[in-house]
């Protein structure tokens, strides 16, 4: 049964991860690359695939608070995008985008394993998962690991001002755990005491509040950041819907075999 769980989860995770990666590369990556132009002049985060001279550019490049000079923020987005695509290092980047596809598959395989573990846990407690529940499980997973954290910490563009990484990672993990637990209690709770506890768990991370920097001094245009956040969440929802449908379908078949 362990093998059936692993294969169901990994096949569904790989499929969802691949779809997520393709959607990201098409819809999200252009916004991210565009933002990197603002992040600090010529600096890119991806040292391995970059042709830029990091030694010379490091001093200015690491100053995230420096205003992006030479870009007119009031210019139409289309004009800036065209300018961005013409800049050196922008375009399809095989090593960089290949790694993105690989890591997207790893991330969604991890989500798939947690999802199938949740299927099995619900079945150990008397529920029977059906293939038609896939969308519901997928949307719940999306809310737990992407929507709920994004409510406090919106998906960040490179260069955005942010609080300490450890504080944000801790808040992210606590939010995911509390949200997943809260959604579980909403779905499987049977009385108002449990549902009240679920509401507290869902609300708590946002009542406490995510860590934010004292000043918002990033060089990234808010238009790009808003587009990035919306697209990242949209791609996440699509990928999680696929993950939920594939995982329930594969799991119910493997279970019956």
């Amino acid at each position: 049964m362990l093998t059936k769980m692993l294969t169901s989860a990994l096949i569904a995770g790989a499929a969802a991860g691949l779809i997520a990666a393709l959607l990201q590369l098409f819809f999200v990556q252009p916004v991210l690359l565009h933002a990197e132009l603002y992040e600090g002049g010529e600096r890119t985060h991806f040292a391995a695939a970059s042709g830029h001279d990091h030694g010379a550019g490091a001093a200015e490049g690491h100053d995230h608070a420096a205003p992006a000079e030479g870009h007119d923020h009031a210019a139409p987005v289309e004009a800036l995008a065209a300018e961005g695509h013409a800049a050196p290092g922008i375009g399809f980047d095989a090593p960089r985008d290949g790694l993105s596809i690989l890591f997207s598959i790893v991330v969604y395989s991890g989500y798939g394993l947690l999802l199938v573990a949740a299927f099995a846990l619900s079945e150990a407690r008397g529920h029977t998962v059906s293939a038609r529940e896939g969308l519901l499980w997928g949307v719940a997973g999306f809310v737990a690991v992407q929507m709920a954290p994004a409510f406090g910490l919106a998906p960040e563009l490179p260069g955005m001002a942010a609080a300490d990484i450890n504080a944000r990672a801790l808040w992210w993990i606590m939010t995911v755990l509390l949200s997943a637990g809260g959604l579980w209690l909403v779905a499987f709770g049977r009385n108002w005491t449990v549902w009240a506890l679920a509401l507290v768990m869902l609300a708590l991370p946002h009542v406490v509040g995510a860590p934010h920097p004292a000043d918002f001094t990033g060089p990234t245009p808010p238009e790009l950041a808003a587009q990035f956040a919306g697209r990242a969440l949209g791609v996440g929802l699509a990928a999680w819907a696929v993950l939920g449908l594939f995982a329930t379908t594969l799991w119910t078949r493997a279970r019956a075999a």
Partner: protein, 56 residues
């Protein structure tokens, strides 16, 4: 592996196996999404941003 019996067509999975699968999943997510090693950060950079993980 398990002592529980389920209705026809429903699998029975031990809590141990559930924990193993969940642990592997958590390790994958931590490695790709949250681990702060320089190499992992660079390789997973775009996915971390696009998937909403806190990143640098």
């Amino acid at each position: 592996m398990t002592t529980a019996t389920r209705a026809a067509g429903t699998a029975s999975v031990s809590y141990g196996n559930i924990a193993i699968v969940a642990l592997i999943g958590a390790i994958l997510i931590f490695t790709a999404g949250l681990a702060q090693s320089e190499a992992l950060h660079d390789a997973a950079h775009d996915v971390r941003h696009a998937t909403g993980f806190p990143c640098h």
